[in-house]
Symmetry: C2
Subunit: 334 residues, 2 copies
């Protein structure tokens, strides 16, 4: 299993990517880690050179501020693009990048390529739930608009991912909607509902945004726009409440003393709400495995992304999605 | 100013509606309150009979569980429908109901009627912000799908409402979106943006869901589906966090004692987040004034809804919206 890491992508790269790659190569000897980036920069950072870690030189890099499509088209020697090419050409089985999200989605589409039968790849991060187990939500931002048949494919891909990578035997799949009754929603969700019902998955029906945090399903299907609105509302509300709590709790000496006692509990809560802790997000529906790490990933987070990619590869994720999609491609012809 | 109250609508009706009507009639002698409902039920509940309070008999009522369109069509003598008819026929200037939301929207459309030039009336409740000032959001549920020109009309109507009813000289109007840059969003918001820019309002551009609670605008424009996702996420997150806090804060005697000190602060926070306290929601874009009270409205809430309707009538809200819409109807022809 060869896993290419975009060594130059992410706020803390290349220190973070080198650290993560090294730790991963040392922990798992059934993988080969390929650090893709400027050899002159990377080599001096490697304190050790395990046999299963190599550097693949790439002279350019995509910046966080680059316009995604232009950057991917023009910077052919950028570390992210080269990592994508390694996957497309079969020289790597997976790629991981914590770089420019738009550019990574473009690399997925234009360099790695779509899986046959999939119209729209979807970005599928874990979002927080109060039981700490998290929920896989897709699409969260790869495409702003979706058609009903896209949502049906998201449902199928998300279910297979949770099965294969997280070991959930029968993932509960829900559709983000404004009410739980089958006929609720806008034109998109009303038309998607019967298509999702036809998928070989455990479809639990519509899920209201207010029940997401309670963890009522394992996979949440949504279009990129609504998903973003939901996640940002969730983050924004949690953030606002925590800052309001902080203000109230430091407003008097009495409050400060009481709050100090409760601080461990508050920190615990805050940690649950920090969805960034839930690791990298796969870009599902491509012909190879692509994992998006958070921009702020440190070495530990990069290592976790490798762990995730390794499990996905061991469980034949991409092959399984391909098999199911080809069995159910009638869905995309509706 | 004659204000009709659907006396049979709401969880606590008719006790709540009678109480609210009585208090309102006593407080404002420039209005005439018309209680619409079963005279045999209402008359005994009226402890007093101020000269500016009358009962208008209506023998039927719409239940919370009734299918909206069917109910409005069939129950021609339902209190809600009769109140709508009073507005349409000029026997009342406004109507208020805390009954079945779908039925009230249907009554607005089919009985009161749309304003000339308006394609889609919008439900415009206040949603909470941490500064306690609240934000008018529309559409929140009258229509699940919207076209770009509908969003432009929502922007105009919301701005006029905030000016006229809340006295905000230059309301800041924002468009709910996934990023703040002008070109962000789905097809709907991308096309709506330039149309909203053409309105005679203070358009502050796109607003992200995470910034809503911070009160970055006075009017938030959204389609009914996204708006619902946002509001339910906000409610759900706040609700979940408060229950998690409660659990953590009662998990030990030490925590309980500390939490007791902080209880007033917590209650204060919870109150801000309880958007139900922000009063009734106008249904904008109709040829008469229709205000939706919360289903759980008590007498005080009903009186507040009358206060709102009175200000709207005094400020010529409907006339002002009509004037502006007729000036800018080219928008709906795009």
């Amino acid at each position: 299993m060869r896993i290419a890491i975009d060594a130059m992508g992410g706020d803390h790269a290349p220190a973070s990517t080198v650290e993560g790659a090294l730790a991963a190569a040392k922990e798992w000897n059934d993988i080969e880690v390929i650090l893709v980036g400027d050899e002159g920069v990377l080599a001096p950072l490697l304190s050790e050179r395990p046999a299963n870690l190599t550097i693949h030189h790439a002279g350019e890099k995509i910046e966080a501020t680059d316009e995604p499509v232009k950057a991917v088209r023009r910077k052919k020697d950028a570390s992210m693009v080269v990592a994508g090419r390694l996957v497309r050409e079969g020289q790597a089985d997976a790629m991981i990048s914590a770089g420019n999200t738009g550019a990574l989605m473009t690399t997925g589409l234009l360099v790695v390529g779509r899986m046959a039968g999939i119209e729209r790849p979807a970005l599928a991060p874990m979002i927080p739930t109060i039981d700490g187990k998290g929920m896989l939500a897709l699409d969260l931002g790869a495409n702003m608009d979706a058609k009903p048949e896209h949502l049906a494919q998201y449902a199928l891909m998300g279910s297979i991912y949770r099965q294969k990578v997280h070991g959930i035997e029968k993932p509960r799949v829900g559709l983000l909607n404004v009410g739980t009754e089958a006929m609720k929603g806008n034109e998109l969700t009303k038309q998607a509902y019967p298509l999702i019902e036809q998928q070989p998955i455990d479809f639990v029906g519509n899920v209201e945004a207010r029940d997401v945090l309670a963890g009522v399903c394992d996979v949440l299907v949504c279009d990129g726009f609504s998903g973003n609105i939901m996640l940002k509302s969730l983050e924004g509300t949690a953030g606002s409440l925590f800052s309001m709590l902080k203000k109230e709790f430091t407003s008097s000496l009495k409050n400060k003393l009481a709050a100090a006692v409760l601080m461990p509990s508050l920190r615990n809560l805050k940690k649950i709400m920090d969805y960034k802790e839930h690791g990298g997000a796969p870009l599902l529906g491509l012909s190879g495995l692509v994992v998006k790490g958070h921009g702020s990933s440190d070495g530990e987070a990069m290592k976790n992304a490798v762990r995730q990619a390794r499990i996905a590869l061991k469980s034949n994720l991409i092959q399984s999605i391909g098999d199911e999609v080809s069995k159910h491609t009638e869905v995309s012809d509706l």
